[in-house]
C-alpha cells in the first residue's frame, strides 16, 4: 500500500514536471497567437462554428473557440469576464446589463442571423396547427390532456430547455407568458428535445428550425412541425414556409454581445466584419438559419459607425 502511494506520488510529480516543461518550450517556439473565445447559445453554436472555420482559412493565426452552453450561460460568462463574445438567441435583460456595467463591461450588440422556433410533436400525433394561446395553456400546465386539442385521450408530456437557454427564455416571453409547468422535462439542448419527442407519442417540444431540417434540406424523421397562429383568427403558418416567414409568430434575432468594443484592425473586429459579410451569411443559410433582414443590417451599421 505504502509502495503504491509512493509510486503514485512519483508518477504525479513526473506528470506535473512534464506539463510545465511542455508549456515552456511551446511559449519559446511559437509567438503568442490571437485567441477569440465565444460561448453561449446552443442554437447558434453549430452555425457560428461553421463561420469560424471559414474565417480561419482567411486568418489562420487567429484561434477561435466556440462552445454551446446556452444563451444565459454565455451572457453570464461575458459578465464574469471569461469570454470575448457571447452568442445569444435572446436579447440581454436589463438586470444582466446592470450587472455587466457593475463589472466594467459594456456589451455591444450585433445581429448575426435570424431564426424561427418550431413547435414539434411526434409524427403519430394528428395535431397539425395550434394557436399561441393554446400553447401557453399547455406549457403553463393548465391544459394537461391532448383531448381538447386533438381528441386523443392522453396526457401531454412537456419538453423544454434548461433555464440557461435563450430559447427557454424566448419561448417563455413570447408564448408561455407565465411560469412553465413544473412538470416540464428540462432538456440539455435542441437535439435532446427532438430525440425525446421522436420517442414520445404524447410529447410536445420546441426547437430551432435549424435543428429540424437536416443537411439535405429534408425534415427529420419521426417528428412533425406544427403550424402556429398568433390567435384563433390569424392564419396558421409553418416555420418552413419561406414566403410567409415575415409573419411567422416565433421569428427571432440571433445576436452576439462583444465584451469590449471591437477596435478597427484587431482580429476580433475582422471576425465581426466577416460574420456580417455575404460569405458568412451564405454559411448561415446553409446551416438552416435565415440571413439578417435589411433592418437588422441598418441597426448593425449604426453600431459599427459608432465604434469609430
Amino acid at each position: 500500500m505504502k509502495n503504491q502511494l509512493f509510486m503514485t506520488m512519483v508518477l504525479f510529480a513526473i506528470v506535473v514536471a512534464g506539463c510545465s516543461n511542455n508549456t515552456n518550450s511551446n511559449n519559446q517556439v511559437q509567438p503568442v497567437s490571437n485567441k477569440i473565445e465565444l460561448a453561449g447559445s446552443d442554437t447558434m453554436s453549430q452555425m457560428v462554428s461553421n463561420i469560424a472555420e471559414a474565417y480561419s482559412k482567411i486568418d489562420p493565426n487567429t484561434k477561435i473557440s466556440v462552445t454551446g452552453t446556452g444563451s444565459g450561460a454565455g451572457i453570464a460568462s461575458l459578465i464574469n469576464g471569461e469570454i470575448d463574445i457571447a452568442d445569444a438567441s435572446r436579447t440581454i435583460k436589463d438586470k444582466e446589463m446592470e450587472q455587466a456595467k457593475k463589472n466594467g463591461i459594456t456589451p455591444t450588440e450585433f445581429i448575426i442571423a435570424r431564426d424561427t422556433l418550431a413547435v414539434i410533436v411526434n409524427k403519430d400525433n394528428p395535431l397539425s396547427k395550434i394557436s399561441i394561446k393554446q400553447l401557453s395553456k399547455i406549457y403553463q400546465g393548465n391544459t394537461s390532456s391532448w383531448k381538447s386539442i386533438n381528441g386523443n385521450e392522453q396526457q401531454i408530456t412537456l419538453y423544454g430547455r434548461q433555464t440557461t437557454s435563450g430559447t427557454y427564455v424566448y419561448f417563455q416571453e413570447e408564448v408561455v407568458k407565465g411560469d412553465y409547468s413544473p412538470k416540464m422535462r428540462n432538456m440539455e439542448g435542441n437535439q435532446a428535445i427532438i430525440d425525446a419527442v421522436r420517442q414520445d407519442k404524447s410529447g410536445i417540444g420546441y426547437a430551432s428550425a435549424g435543428y429540424i431540417v437536416g443537411e439535405n434540406g429534408k425534415l427529420l424523421d419521426g417528428i412533425k412541425i406544427v403550424s402556429i397562429a398568433k390567435d384563433e383568427k390569424s392564419e396558421y403558418i409553418s416555420p418552413l414556409d419561406v414566403s410567409k416567414r415575415a409573419s411567422y409568430p416565433l421569428s427571432r434575432v440571433l445576436v452576439q454581445y462583444f465584451a469590449k468594443t471591437p477596435v478597427k484592425g484587431t482580429p476580433i473586429y475582422n471576425f465581426l466584419l466577416f460574420e456580417l459579410s455575404s460569405e458568412a451569411q451564405d454559411i448561415i443559410k446553409k446551416s438552416g438559419y435565415i440571413s439578417i433582414y435589411p433592418e437588422d443590417k441598418a441597426k448593425n451599421d449604426i453600431t459599427l459607425s459608432g465604434l469609430g
Partner: protein
C-alpha cells in the same frame, strides 16, 4: 555515509508530511469557501423557505422561489432506488466471489467488476439516455423513460463496484476459524454463509452500503442526463426528478458571481457536502468498530 542516509530519510519524511498537510489544507479550504459562499444565501432567503418549500424558480415570472425540498426528495428517490438495485446485487456478487467462485473465476470476475468503476459517468448517462430510457418507457408503458427509475438503475450500476469490492474484502478477511468451526458443526455452506459469515461481516457490509450511498448522493452527470430534471415534486419512480447535484450542474453556468442565485447554488452544495460527510463519517465509525471487533 550514515549522514546522507539520514538526510535522505528526513527529506522523504518531510515530503510526505507536507503533502498530507497540503491535502488537509485543500480540504479545509474547500469547506471554508463552500461555507462562506453558501451561508450568504441565507441573508436573502430564509431557512424555512430554502429547506421546506418545494418550488425552486429563480427565473420566475413573478417572485423568485428558492425551495429545495423537491430536489432533496429527488436525491432521496435516486439514493433509495439505486441502493435497492445495488445492495442485493452487490452483496450476492461479493459472496459469490469470496466464498463460492473458484480462484480462477475470481481472477477474472474481480477486475471486470472493478472496471465498471472506470467507465466515465457521462458514458453511462449516454447509454441511459439512448438505450435504457426508451426500454423503460416501453416496459412500463410510459410516455417517456426519463425518470427516477432510469436514473436509479444507472446510479445503481455505478455504485456496484464500490459495494462489491468492499463487501468482498470484508468477507474474505474474516478469520478462517469461523468457516471451519461452522462446517465442523455440520452446517452446510449456505448455512455457514448465512448464519456465521454474514452476521460477522455485517458492520463491514454496512460501511460498504454507506459508501455506495455517498456515491449515489454525489453522482451528477449520469443523473442529469436521464432523470428528466423537472422541478416538480416527484410522487413515484416514474416521475422525472431533479436531484440537488443536477440542479447545481444545470444552473451554475448561468449565474453571475455574487448574486443570490449563485450563493443559493453554493448553499445546495453545502447541504450535499454535509450529507456526504455524515455518510462517510458513519461508514468510518462502522469500519473502525468492525476492525476492533475482529482484530486477532
Amino acid at each position: 555515509m550514515g549522514n546522507s542516509k539520514n538526510l535522505k530519510e528526513k527529506s522523504i519524511e518531510t515530503f510526505f508530511s507536507s503533502v498530507s498537510i497540503i491535502t488537509l489544507l485543500v480540504m479545509i479550504g474547500i469547506f471554508v469557501f463552500l461555507f462562506i459562499t453558501g451561508i450568504k444565501a441565507f441573508s436573502e432567503v430564509t431557512f424555512g423557505d430554502f429547506f421546506l418549500k418545494n418550488i425552486w424558480n429563480p427565473n420566475s415570472y413573478g417572485k423568485p422561489q428558492w425551495g429545495i425540498l423537491s430536489f432533496f426528495v429527488g436525491t432521496l428517490f435516486v439514493v433509495i432506488g439505486s441502493m435497492a438495485i445495488a445492495i442485493p446485487l452487490g452483496l450476492a456478487s461479493a459472496i459469490y466471489i469470496s466464498e463460492i467462485a473458484t480462484p480462477k473465476a475470481r481472477e477474472i470476475i474481480k477486475p471486470v467488476i472493478e472496471m465498471i468503476a472506470a467507465i466515465p459517468s457521462v458514458v453511462l448517462g449516454l447509454i441511459g439516455l439512448l438505450f435504457l430510457s426508451p426500454l423503460i418507457a416501453k416496459i412500463f408503458g410510459l410516455s417517456s423513460g426519463l425518470n427516477a427509475l432510469t436514473a436509479s438503475i444507472i446510479v445503481g450500476i455505478m455504485a456496484l463496484p464500490t459495494i462489491i469490492s468492499i463487501c468482498e474484502d470484508v468477507i474474505t478477511s474474516l478469520p478462517k476459524d469461523f468457516r471451519e468451526a461452522s462446517l465442523a458443526l455440520g452446517a452446510t455452506k449456505w448455512q455457514t454463509i448465512r448464519m456465521t459469515l454474514m452476521p460477522a461481516a455485517m458492520s463491514g457490509i454496512m460501511a460498504a452500503i454507506m459508501l455506495g450511498i455517498g456515491r449515489a448522493v454525489g453522482e451528477t452527470m449520469a443523473v442529469l442526463m436521464v432523470a428528466g430534471n423537472s422541478i416538480a415534486m416527484p410522487h413515484s419512480f416514474f416521475d422525472p426528478v431533479r436531484p440537488m447535484t443536477a440542479n447545481i450542474a444545470i444552473e451554475i453556468k448561468e449565474v453571475v458571481k455574487g448574486s443570490t442565485h449563485y450563493n443559493s447554488l453554493f448553499a445546495i452544495g453545502l447541504v450535499l457536502f454535509i450529507i456526504t460527510f455524515l455518510v462517510n463519517l458513519i461508514s468510518d465509525i462502522i469500519i473502525e468498530n468492525h476492525t476492533r471487533k475482529y482484530r486477532w
